[in-house]
Symmetry: C2
Subunit: 195 residues, 2 copies
DNA sequence: CGCGGGTTTGATGATGCTCAAGCCCGGTGG
DNA sequence: CCACCGGGCTTGAGCATCATCAAACCCGCG
């Protein structure tokens, strides 16, 4: 159950057996089903979630009701609305479940207590943040400087599993293009490749 | 000299006099002049910089030589290439100085030592990261879902000082649009406003 | 005074969006 | 087990937004 989490931690900091045990005790495991919501716009994001198995996604709705995917989370990823989680303000995100999933939930209080009792975890979370920051920066630059096709190719290269496991219109939303455009890009890439 | 830095820290964690002194000792103050480079593409980013006064910016060059502004940093902001700083890999960013500036430099070794000797700083840096993450996420969503005009208006609202102090073509680059488009948007907003 | 970078303006064109319709496929109920 | 329904993917035609290219303009600075 905590296998994937412990591995994720292990890649960043080294915990003793006792610390691992202690660490686990702060999480609440939960199984979620496809189409279920982990967070709805307007609610406060009470916990960050670690994905042990399955796929989730966060997204926002704009003024015209359009969805904009902010993040996908496969096994080994964290997902939450950081802003709401940190500040206690209502969230502007939705998080829903794309495939039946098992997650580990960590509330803010639990997190604060966790980093107190296992100070190494402060470092783990900081490194997590840093990596997210780097990835986000890359994505932003890509979204500013690349064409739709280039963005799609870059996504396939960076996260092939996401492209495989997530419906196409959500990929399009994630890239900031319409489903129609993505469809046309794929057709063109396919025929091109076939020559 | 360390005034702005200490204030920034104070908004996140509380340091004793002694800790403040200790903290300062890890930074190297430096004054920089307009057009000077703090980091050039290909070099390793050896330090993160805290801006005491002035303005800096980071940007990337794409395949066709186009500039893409990643970040502006005014007084009280940090700037660096996190990826290069963390990993020691050559940077893909440039950081240059837009106005004569005073910065405080922190090397990676100094940072590691700092968080060891003043553990509260680990928390400070984590909170910094979190805030950057939130801001970046907002910017990304905005860049995906808003028109050029909306993005510009949002920027004026969020960071009016940046718009005032930075040349227009860099604002355009930051927003992912051409200088021409930004100029037209501004004209339209002006005439509109004048009716 | 003249140079030069930055901004403005105009004309044209490409990329990606909108709207609308058809298609494919998997799920559901009869 | 088959027929039907519906969502998602595809395709097409027309259109909006923004980019590109080119030229003129403005203004601070040498």
């Amino acid at each position: 159950m905590y296998q994937v989490l412990l591995e994720s931690i292990h890649t960043k900091v080294h915990l003793t057996e006792a610390e691992q045990q202690l660490c686990q005790s702060f999480f609440v495991p939960e199984t979620l089903h496809r189409r279920q919501f982990l967070l709805q716009e307007g609610d406060v994001c009470r916990h960050i979630a670690f994905v042990e198995s399955g796929v989730l996604r966060s997204y926002t709705l704009d003024a015209k009701g359009g969805e904009h995917v902010v993040q996908f989370a496969l096994e080994g990823w964290w997902i939450s609305d950081n802003y709401s989680f940190l500040t206690g303000e209502p969230s502007t995100f939705n998080i829903d479940v794309l495939e039946d999933s098992a997650v580990l939930l960590l509330t803010k209080d639990a997190m604060d207590e966790l980093v107190l009792q296992v100070p190494k975890m402060e470092r783990y979370f900081r490194l997590l943040m840093q990596n997210s920051l780097i990835a986000l920066q890359r994505r932003l630059v890509s979204s500013l400087s690349n064409t739709a096709e280039e963005k799609y190719l870059k996504l396939i290269q960076t996260y092939p599993t996401i492209v495989q496991r997530v419906p196409q219109h959500m990929i399009a939303s994630y890239l900031g293009i319409t489903p129609e455009t993505l469809s046309r890009i794929r057709r063109q890439l396919a025929t091109q490749h076939r020559l």
